[in-house]
Symmetry: C3
Subunit: 173 residues, 3 copies
């Protein structure tokens, strides 16, 4: 069974860079899975800059929602997969499911099984969103709880788990 | 002296589950201390579901404020106590004391001494609330500072301290 | 080369106390660098109380912005320097630079080089601000990203890095 490596941390804590470097140790070709949706020019510039930084070893799959269906056929000859990030995918599902937790959790379990069945190592970047003050906003509280539960689900089944802080890794598992 | 075990982490980081499992290693009967106030049906359902998940080994004490007074006589034959959670209790005190830090800190010190004097192991769940952006709201900033200070007070006197992230424990002490 | 020690954590996580104690191991005299601006009486009281807590071993330099220029001549015979804190300095720069990231990052790089060239150990306190829910406010998101990037820059070059939680240290590096 190919390993699932879970990498979490706060905003700009160095999660993606850490996961990318680990992934690159498997050698080319590699598959980068972007879950962000591009909504403005600033975002488009940032995505393009990141693509150039990754370089020729990487192919890119952009998919905000249908990872469970689109990821397996996209692996091809890739030696490892980097998914960046789970929390954005979850946020996309949360809005697509009209902020209802049960269908989002069902899709999350489906994705987890798909990732565990992939024949190559998967590096999964996620976000810590639950260590600030309780949000005033009910939807923000719902999403925060959901993101925490989903992080637990993936970290429990992952073969390795890391917490990043200020760009430096702490091994959770 | 029976140990005080401090367990902290963000929202839905797996703190309560970790603390409950540790507590259950002491064998039945066990005492669960809930500090939440039940304000709506959704909350009532969640509390009831948690009670069923805990099972027959557990008795429950529900007390939002008067822990220092009500906890010692409630221990009885319990082999260990789980308090879930300190931050909700602190929030209840904060509003009961009209958002004044000094009386809240006095009650916190009183509670700490009571917990340290209990004849059985105490597992105390708390929350990290200070790792987000500085809140706009003055009361939220006050509470955030208070919660951080109180976490330091308890962790300093605890015999063990753990930080949970994505359901996985890091040993602080 | 004198060491740079990076100390981060959430609000009231015990960062400053940890850094101060470490700094005091170098013996007197010591230099405390405050980056906060005093905007009201409450703040003035708090600053004065902290000054008294630090005691006679410490001299104080108050400088919200011009650290790179004012710090080197202020070191004098100090055996070590404590800067409290980088995130407030960054926030001051962020507003002085009209919320534009590039000039702030240029000043940050300048400060990092100045700190690494100081002839005495430097203890640098910073803040984790990126582990809460994504802020609604655009400026708050910008600052949160900037603070995360800057923490990575300093932690990458530091000789030691620590993450504080509930007053207890985790070694990052």
């Amino acid at each position: 069974m190919a390993p699932l490596v879970f990498v979490t941390g706060g905003a700009r804590s160095g999660k993606s860079t850490f996961a990318r470097r680990r992934c690159e140790e498997h050698g080319a070709p590699l598959l980068y899975v972007a879950t962000a949706t591009i909504e403005d020019d600033e975002m488009a510039c940032r995505v393009e800059r990141h693509r150039q930084e990754r370089g020729d070893a990487w192919r890119t799959l952009e998919e905000p929602l249908e990872l469970a269906r689109r990821l397996p056929p996209a692996v091809g000859d890739a030696r490892a997969v980097l998914i960046d990030c789970l929390t954005l995918w979850l946020s996309n599902q949360f809005f697509a499911c009209r902020e209802q937790a049960p269908p989002v959790l069902a899709r999350t379990e489906e994705l987890l099984e798909v990732l565990l069945a992939l024949p190559v190592p998967v590096y999964l970047v996620s976000n810590e969103v639950g260590s600030g003050i309780v949000p005033d906003n009910r939807l923000a509280r719902l999403f925060r709880d959901l993101a925490g539960e989903v992080n637990q689900m993936f970290a429990a089944r992952a073969h390795q788990a890391w917490l990043l802080a200020s760009g430096l890794p702490l091994r959770l598992k």
